[in-house]
Symmetry: C2
Subunit: 375 residues, 2 copies
């Protein structure tokens, strides 16, 4: 019997996605070899080379690769055509650099959060004989990024813009990390430090810049899109425009992530939510705090951030009482409409064939991936 047409379509889509991921992963193998060769050429001892290889293999690939692959996808959309092999590889290098940057953040974040597992394996610092050496390993991952950009983009007119982007976004991410660390220390619960305002700052700085703005801005640079030094409402600066749309998009993504940590089933989200137990400064707790009665507030104070299933259950009860589910549905609908309206205002560029332009589709593709996401 012929397969169901909807099923065949889904299978074709999944196969295309798997092929795209495979192609992106193939680029990593080339990149890793380059890095290891350079490291070896410095005359490093054998054990150091082995350590370095293990650091790269353990910490860089293995994630969802959404951020890295979105650089490649964005370059394709901006250029309005499929990429040559050379263009593909260069876009993939920039994408992998975002993954290296993320690896730098995650390796160090896990140490600071005393986390146990990451991507289904022990956190790097918990691997036998690694420990605090993970700090230097993380630092090296950042250096790899600059070595790669230098090697592949040195002669490009936008080289210095790439460097400034990585510098600027790295700094902003660290600012967000700082606010997060002092607002919600893992071991000292104090909900009076929480607020939706702090949450918005943390989310914007710690996540939205590097996960949403950075990949698109890199793709824009690689596509030859330049700033507009004299922006007007009709003719805005493309980087400011991208910023204005992608930061709210990143906030929406993180609020959704926080919500699913509470409301998603393990089958949906692929893990068991631990934000309540981990004292996370999440959208759910901040929303609950903003509307809780004194009695509900007392329950939250007494039970949030405790390593205890009964405490967690009591917090979840309050979340249900204050209707976090309904509030999230409203938040999501409003965010979706607001971002969509901004995207609708992006000028439809009728660029001549082969000329890159900031097309609204680049933002639309992000929003469509996120809206009503269940996992």
């Amino acid at each position: 019997p012929a397969p169901h047409p909807g099923l065949a379509l889904k299978q074709a889509k999944d196969a295309k996605k798997a092929a795209a991921r495979q192609k992106f992963e193939d680029a990593f193998n080339v990149i890793r070899e380059e890095l290891v060769d350079t490291f070896r050429e410095q005359g490093m001892p054998k054990e150091a080379i082995e350590w370095y290889k293990r650091n790269l293999a353990y910490n860089v690939p293995g994630g969802k690769l959404n951020r890295g692959m979105s650089v490649v996808d964005s370059v394709e959309i901006l250029k309005g055509r499929t990429l040559s092999e050379d263009e593909y590889f260069k876009a993939a290098v920039l994408g992998w650099c975002v993954e290296f940057l993320q690896a730098y953040f995650l390796v160090t974040d896990d140490l600071m959060d005393s986390s146990v597992t990451r991507r289904g394996q022990p956190c790097w610092y918990r691997v036998e004989s690694v420990g605090n050496i993970a700090i230097n390993d993380g630092m090296m991952l950042e250096s790899c990024m600059f070595a790669l950009i230098r090697k592949h983009f040195r002669r490009e007119p936008y080289y210095v813009h790439l460097l400034e982007l990585y510098h600027d976004i790295t700094y902003k991410t660290e600012m967000g990390q700082l606010v997060d660390l002092i607002t919600a220390p893992e071991d000292k619960v104090d909900l009076s430090k929480f607020s939706l305002e702090h949450h918005a700052t943390i989310v914007k700085y710690k996540t939205a810049f590097y996960s949403f703005y950075l990949p698109v801005a890199l793709a824009m640079r690689m596509s030859g899109i330049v700033e507009n030094p004299n922006p007007t409402p009709e003719n805005p600066d493309p980087y400011q425009l991208a910023n204005d749309i992608l930061l709210p998009l990143g906030e929406y993504f993180q609020v959704q992530d926080d919500y699913l940590d509470f409301a998603g089933t393990p089958e949906q989200i692929g893990k068991i939510g631990t934000d309540i137990i981990d004292n996370k400064c999440s959208w759910c707790i901040n929303t609950a705090l903003a509307v809780a009665t004194p009695a509900q507030r007392a329950v939250l104070d007494a039970n949030y951030g405790r390593k205890d299933a009964a405490c967690e259950a009591r917090v979840k009860e309050v979340f249900e009482e204050v209707d976090i589910r309904g509030r999230y549905a409203k938040y999501e609908q409003a965010a979706y409409e607001r971002i969509n309206a901004m995207i609708a205002k992006v000028p439809q560029v009728t660029a001549s064939a082969g000329e890159a332009a900031l097309r609204p589709e680049v933002f639309k593709s992000f929003l469509d991936k996120i809206y009503k996401r269940q996992k």
Copy 2:
């Protein structure tokens, strides 16, 4: 009675040194204000601003400032004249960036080494409520560096060279740190991992690049000295030349540091040496291992890296037996002569007034500061 003429000379020299240090420290106050203003303008919460300020004040100034001030001194020598106020400040920014970079390394190194004190105060991670947040604080110090360079050098033709220098040297320092960390873990003594070859790699990568080559190369860039793409023996590339002289100079400096840790009195070196107790991969132990009899080797294996004064004394006895003092005197004399010979070969440039040139004096000033140093 008139003061002794030699004494008056020394007093004048000390006063000049103190004034130079004061001027350099004044530049830091300007830099710190700039950084805090930028941080505040991002809309960071009050507690984060306070934390950030404390991070800067605790970790950046307070060292010997040799590396940072050597950038300023080198620009003066290369230009062959005193600097204008604007030139001074820019050179000081580059110098402070080396101090920021060092602060990034030291904050993280102290965590990795479980060190207790640094510059006469508790290590940053040991300060109340800091702990592992020190990792992110260190990372921010590196980001400060790039923000400062961007702000002050963006329009300079050598801007991208400055960025590449900091990237490249940061990476190399991390390579040296990795070799050090896996060769001499603080908690697991295994002298079979040690060798003079490993020691040379560690010293070159972990110390010499950022402490000696980086300040001079930055000064050369700021002075407008460009690479020579077609080097000959008579007309070498100035950056290669600087590298060839400054890396051995850095090695000599670190060997001397290692030697003084063993042989210097606390009055001389301003601290009590702990390299033996801390299982450091020092020049002394590597030299001893290279010539020890089997009996002496057994003593070293049984006593090196133990947190025990009697063990330390036994190691010191072997050091005396194998004549570390005599061997060091020979090493120092040979290093001094070898480096001096290289400096003597640097072409005496008769640059027209005001034109920068790679003068041998820039190297000579480093060597003179180090030779037969007692502290």
